[in-house]
């Protein structure tokens, strides 16, 4: 017997969480691209998506984040530090890949210097993951040692019932237990079985890839030049990646006032590493693509013991030239050894 949440109780569930002081965010199809957005009714949710086109990262590390508001006067400059919103939030229907992305980025935003903007939101959020019941051709979580029912990063894990009527509910953390407590009257004990987890084929051998990347001889391999030839450097893959965290800090405003902002940036862009002198350590698209792959499957592993990829496949799904990480890692897997 496990506790289950029925779909037809979702409206009550949202109401209970709102009453407990939470905003509820779920997959929605409101804009051109599906994303996470606040919902008040269950029918606003798009729970049938394989996964949202935009990642949940947006909600913790927004595309643009105001850091400091400033006013430039004749004799002085006034500035005011801005803090992240303190609103408590429930993220309902997060896919396992996106939830792992948050867990993967935590150590980066926390090593030595704690990014208050990331952790302010993390600490006020509860992640309710729903295991996948479908996958598409781009999904590759199993290739990076995650799975369609991975609980990494989840505070509460929901597993779909085979008849589609609801989910098995399991709290994964203290925060999750407390959240489940707020809807305990809506849950029921049931022996209904969970739906089988979809098969996601392994697309590359990540161990082989990591071994090849770790070999210093390969850093200047012709492979990088060939594989990155068709990259147009648009940066879509980085913006849609649940773990890409690169940013810029810019002052945006007019002569008298403005806001210092932390804006998304991308290692795909030539200006990203350009020195004032004009020297650019990563001056070609191939060196930038190499940086992206090395960062995810070698450097990050060395620093934080985990690869910076969740296998969500968005980089390939949305690439305008049909490139993406999958193809590169497949090619590395298949290189003659």
């Amino acid at each position: 017997m496990t506790r289950i949440l029925l779909r037809n109780k979702l409206d009550d569930c949202i109401a209970a969480w709102q009453k407990a002081g939470f905003s509820v965010l779920a997959p929605v199809k409101r804009h051109e691209m599906s994303s996470f957005g606040e919902v008040r009714k269950a029918d606003e949710m798009a729970l049938d998506l394989v996964l949202t086109e935009r990642t949940i990262k947006d909600q913790f590390f927004p595309q643009t984040e105001p850091l400091i508001k400033y006013k430039i006067g004749k004799h002085q400059i006034d500035s005011e530090t801005m803090t992240p919103p303190e609103k408590k939030r429930v993220f309902f229907g997060v896919r396992p890949c996106d939830a792992s992305g948050l867990a993967i980025d935590d150590p980066l935003f926390g090593w030595d210097y704690k990014d208050d903007y990331w952790f302010g939101r993390r600490e006020n959020s509860v992640i309710v993951t729903i295991a996948c019941s479908q996958a598409d051709d781009f999904c590759m979580c199993t290739s990076v040692k995650l799975s369609p029912d991975s609980t990494k990063g989840a505070d509460v894990m929901l597993r779909p019932l085979s008849d589609g009527s609801g989910w098995q509910v399991e709290a994964m953390s203290d925060r999750g237990t407390a959240l489940v407590e707020t809807i305990s009257s809506l849950l029921q004990e049931s022996s209904a079985e969970a739906a089988p987890v979809p098969q996601v084929a392994e697309k590359f051998d990540v161990e082989k890839v990591m071994e090849w990347l770790a070999d210093k001889e390969n850093f200047e391999s012709q492979f990088w030049k060939d594989i990155a030839l068709r990259c147009v450097g648009c940066g879509s893959c980085t913006f849609l990646c649940p773990t890409c965290h690169c940013f810029d800090i810019q002052d945006e405003g007019d002569t008298y006032q403005g806001i210092r902002r932390k804006n998304w940036d991308s290692c795909s862009f030539a200006l990203f590493t350009m020195h004032t002198s004009g020297h650019n350590p990563r001056n070609t698209q191939s060196t930038r693509w190499r940086q992206r792959i090395m960062h995810k499957f070698n450097y990050y592993q060395g620093k934080f013991g985990v690869n910076s990829c969740t296998g969500c496949g968005r980089c390939t799904r949305q690439c305008p030239v049909d490139m993406g990480i999958t193809e590169t890692l497949q090619a590395i897997t298949n290189l003659p050894r």
Partner: protein, 278 residues
């Protein structure tokens, strides 16, 4: 909050060379000063900024033995540096830091010190030089080899005169061929060549080397010829930075984050990095 800078008051501005200025900054808030005093060590860097323009990364050019103020020396080349260069005494700018690692000068105690700098790279070297000269008794011989493109491009001219007059410092000055003036008394030639001629002994000596990549490359070769090992040569790297605290993802060379694991490295550590990423 993590990206909030300290307000700093400009005490004075000194023009070092065409387009190169030094700002002396004092703390506006006592708590910021206390933080700086507790954390600053020679070799660390900061982000200097001005609201409305942004922030730029340079070293702290003042030594760890003088923590009542911060000095920074920079070439005017973009929005931020141009605005900083146009400040006057009393103006408020910002500082975020000190970040990064440091020159382990307590490990240099009892040793000879050889400082080598080229052009605008004297400021980071100067921070180490004064940190050691202010505790002169702890170190043995001090040699400073400094070169710039032209006589006009030499920075800290007053301090160069001061070092020249000291009998416990050997100062070797040079300018690139063609950069000398009619009354120039010192060497003419590139730093690596002049260094080889000066031939400082590698015996019990630590070298601190800062300069543009091309100078570093040839100077390292010269040091090797003189018998220095890469473990005894320290340098400081610079890369474009935005956060300064290992998050924004741009300053890494291979897996090494310059902002957190650097900017100070031994030549051996630099040689272990993927050279194509430097």
């Amino acid at each position: 909050m993590i990206y909030s800078p300290f307000p700093m008051r400009v005490v004075s501005k000194r023009t070092e060379a065409p387009g190169v200025n030094t700002l002396k900054l004092e703390f506006v808030k006592e708590e910021d000063h206390e933080f700086f005093k507790a954390n600053y060590k020679t070799g660390m860097f900061g982000l200097y900024g001005i609201f409305g323009e942004g922030e730029s990364t340079f070293c702290v050019a003042s030594p760890e033995t003088r923590k009542d103020y911060i000095e920074c020396t920079f070439r005017q080349s973009g929005r931020v540096t141009s605005t900083l260069a146009n400040t006057d005494a009393g103006d408020i700018v910002t500082f975020r830091g000190p970040y990064g690692n440091r020159f382990p000068i307590e490990q240099f105690e009892g040793k000879n010190l050889l400082f080598i700098a080229g052009g605008i790279a004297l400021p980071p070297t100067r921070s180490v030089i004064w940190s050691c000269l202010d505790q002169r008794e702890k170190y043995k011989g001090v040699t400073i080899v400094y070169g710039a493109r032209t006589v006009a491009d030499l920075v800290y001219k007053d301090e160069l005169d001061e070092w020249k007059k000291r009998d416990d410092v050997r100062l070797v000055l040079t300018v690139d061929p063609g950069g000398e003036t009619p009354d120039w008394q010192d060497h003419v030639g590139f730093v690596p060549t002049i260094l080889e001629q000066a031939a400082p002994s590698p015996e019990n000596t630590i070298a601190v080397l800062c300069g543009p990549p091309i100078m570093i490359k040839f100077t390292l070769a010269a040091l090797e010829k003189l018998g220095f090992t890469a473990e005894n040569v320290y340098t400081t790297l610079e890369n474009r930075m935005k956060c300064g605290v290992g998050k924004c993802g741009r300053c890494n060379v291979g897996s090494v984050y310059i902002c957190k694991e650097g900017p100070v490295f031994t030549a051996a550590e630099v040689q272990a990095m993927p050279q194509a990423d430097l």
